[in-house]
């Protein structure tokens, strides 16, 4: 943890019409780490993702990415810096075929800059990436219309969309939700490989068991506040966390 954090959130707060969605949340993310974020329903997890990725502007606090304050930046600017996210609700570009879905990120300034215009056949690149995230090329899955794909593939497509951007940080908003056990087990190697490739992951999850297996550190949110942070073991044994999950009144 000696390295300077790649992503740092300081005292982030957001109100929605008087309701505290996020209150004074701070944490940091070291390069190459997997950070898990857990919390009961309505604890503000998705709001936190929206705040970091720039879709919602915070009322207070700042987000630093590689030392740069990105709080006021537009989402696409943030994505171009190398911080991207998945969405909890899967809405692919349903009228397009799966690989055409990747044409969008492949046209972003970030990709164009890094490939210096030598991307070659952009469709082939898209299909390669899809194969990487588990679309069977032989079965012609990449050519299928995105609207007709089952959920498992949609989650992969969503990850593929992020990977196409060659990001440094991916925030995964509940990638496991709605998937069967076998689908989850097949997804985990992919996430581990991403970490091997040096991509930092921040995972918002409900599936605690898988998350604890994957993450290096875990942050726990309840009622918009951070109530615990630490290694999976530390968090699992934290009394406040247990209370929050069991629904007892938290005293903060």
């Amino acid at each position: 943890m000696a390295e300077s954090p790649i992503l740092e959130v300081t005292e982030l707060s957001k109100f929605f019409g008087g309701v505290q969605a996020i209150m004074n949340v701070s944490f940091a993310l070291a390069p190459g780490q997997i950070l898990g974020i857990i919390g009961p329903n309505g604890s503000g997890k998705t709001t936190l993702v929206n705040l970091i990725s720039g879709f919602v502007k915070p009322d207070k606090g700042s987000v630093f990415f590689k030392g740069r304050n990105i709080t006021a930046l537009q989402p696409h600017k943030i994505a171009n810096l190398g911080l991207t996210r998945t969405f909890q609700v899967m809405r692919p570009y349903h009228s397009l075929s799966a690989f055409k879905n990747l044409i969008v990120p492949l046209n972003s300034p970030r990709v164009k800059r890094s490939s210096a215009g030598k991307l070659g056949d952009i469709d082939a690149v898209a299909i390669d990436i899809l194969e990487e995230v588990g679309f069977e090329r032989d079965a012609r899955v990449p050519y299928k219309t995105a609207g007709s794909l089952p959920l498992g593939y949609l989650k992969r497509l969503e990850l593929g969309r992020c990977i196409a951007l060659k990001p440094e940080v991916i925030i995964c908003d509940e990638v496991f939700s709605g998937l069967s056990m076998s689908e989850i087990t097949s997804l985990i190697p992919l996430l581990e490989r991403l970490r091997m490739e040096g991509i930092t992951l921040m995972m918002i999850e409900h599936r605690l068991r898988e998350l604890f297996r994957l993450s290096d550190r875990v942050v726990v949110l309840a009622f918009g506040r951070k109530i615990a942070e630490g290694t999976p073991d530390e968090v699992m044994n934290n009394r406040t966390v247990k209370e929050a999950y069991l629904g007892t009144e938290t005293k903060v």
Binding site: T84, L96, S97, V104, P105, Y143, R161, C162
Partner: protein, 336 residues
């Protein structure tokens, strides 16, 4: 209950479709099969003028303008997700620029139309940029009001000829020129837009329509792309406006008339949303039909709207999509 023992089955025709938009062609007959509708359309548009009298040729000129507007409406609505009810804005801005250049600087229509097309599209885009943040029917309603706004301002300031407009602008030297100019423009625009929506840019725009948040998370500025899309749609409309101004040699506040916003939408609904060819066909059907109904006076608008509603309710996919299906698939009865 004989009917229940069989059902209609729909099958793709012999050409194997590997995936959306990619065909494996193996023979001339297959190429011909694919090319036939396109060639038919082009030839049809180019040949029809020979068989009608001059009045109907002029009607075709108007139909061409509506076709351009319908195309621009369909492009924005079906591929970018911007339902722009303000086609009259494009016509008005294009027409005014061309007309004013012609009136004050005596430039020939062949100079004013290109200038008006490009400058007009730029101005229309600038006007619409603040509205791009709006979504769904907010955008629709505000774009519906913008042409009215333009009229109010022209009347209030009493500029550009005020309520009387400016007439005696230069017109085109011959009917065949004006006719083929607009037909060529319609065909060019049609094929350009069809091509565009399958290029990377078109795919990104369709992405914006389906899920703009994901596009933003992919590092692409949706505003920048929407601006480009609006500019392109405005190009078509402004060309139509500039052309219209010179077609009748006049400019006036009625260039912002509601008909220019409504009729193209009707054409799109009738022709088939999202098919691009459909709206063009729709415009070439509806405009002459509207002319043929002229004898009915007010009843014409009523009939017109009834047809429109009937299409929306009973054939919402529109003519073109039905034709396309009939052409590419065949139906047969199947015993159950």
């Amino acid at each position: 209950m004989v009917a229940k023992t069989r059902r209609k089955k729909r099958l793709e025709r012999s050409i194997k479709v590997r995936c959306e938009g990619l065909y494996a062609l193996s023979s001339w007959s297959e190429i011909a099969y694919l090319m036939a509708p396109r060639v038919l359309l082009i030839l049809g548009l180019l040949v029809i003028p020979f068989y009608v009298d001059m009045y109907w040729q002029r009607v075709l000129c108007s139909a061409g303008i509506y076709a351009l507007l319908a195309l621009s409406f369909d492009f924005l609505a079906a591929y970018v997700g911007l339902v722009c009810l303000g086609g009259a804005l494009f016509i008005g801005i294009g027409g005014y620029i061309a007309g004013l250049l012609n009136h004050y600087f005596h430039l020939s229509p062949f100079v004013t139309i290109p200038i008006a097309t490009i400058v007009g599209a730029a101005i229309s885009t600038l006007v619409l940029i603040p509205c791009l943040r709006l979504r769904g029917i907010y955008f629709a309603i505000v774009s519906f009001m913008l042409p009215l706004f333009a009229v109010y301002i022209i009347i209030a300031l009493n500029v550009f000829g005020g309520t009387e407009g400016i007439s005696a602008l230069d017109t085109f030297p011959s009917i065949s020129l004006e006719l083929y100019l607009i037909l060529a423009a319609v065909l060019a625009a049609l094929f350009a837009i069809r091509r565009l929506v399958n290029e990377d840019m078109g795919i990104i725009l369709r992405g914006v329509k389906d899920n703009d948040q994901a596009v933003r998370a992919s590092g692409i500025s949706i505003t920048a792309y929407k601006i480009r899309a609006v500019f392109m749609a405005a190009l078509l409309g402004c060309f139509g406006g500039a052309y219209l101004g010179h077609l009748y040699g006049w400019l006036g506040i009625s260039l912002f008339a509601m008909d220019f916003s409504i009729l193209p939408i009707a054409a799109t609904v009738m022709g088939g949303m999202g098919s691009l060819v459909g709206p063009v066909l729709g415009a070439f059907i509806l405009t002459p039909m509207s002319e043929a109904l002229r004898g009915f006076g007010q009843l014409r608008v009523v009939l017109y709207c009834l047809i429109l509603i009937a299409f929306m309710v009973y054939k919402p996919e529109g003519i073109m999509n039905i034709l396309q299906r009939k052409y590419h698939q065949f139906e047969k009865w199947e015993e159950v």
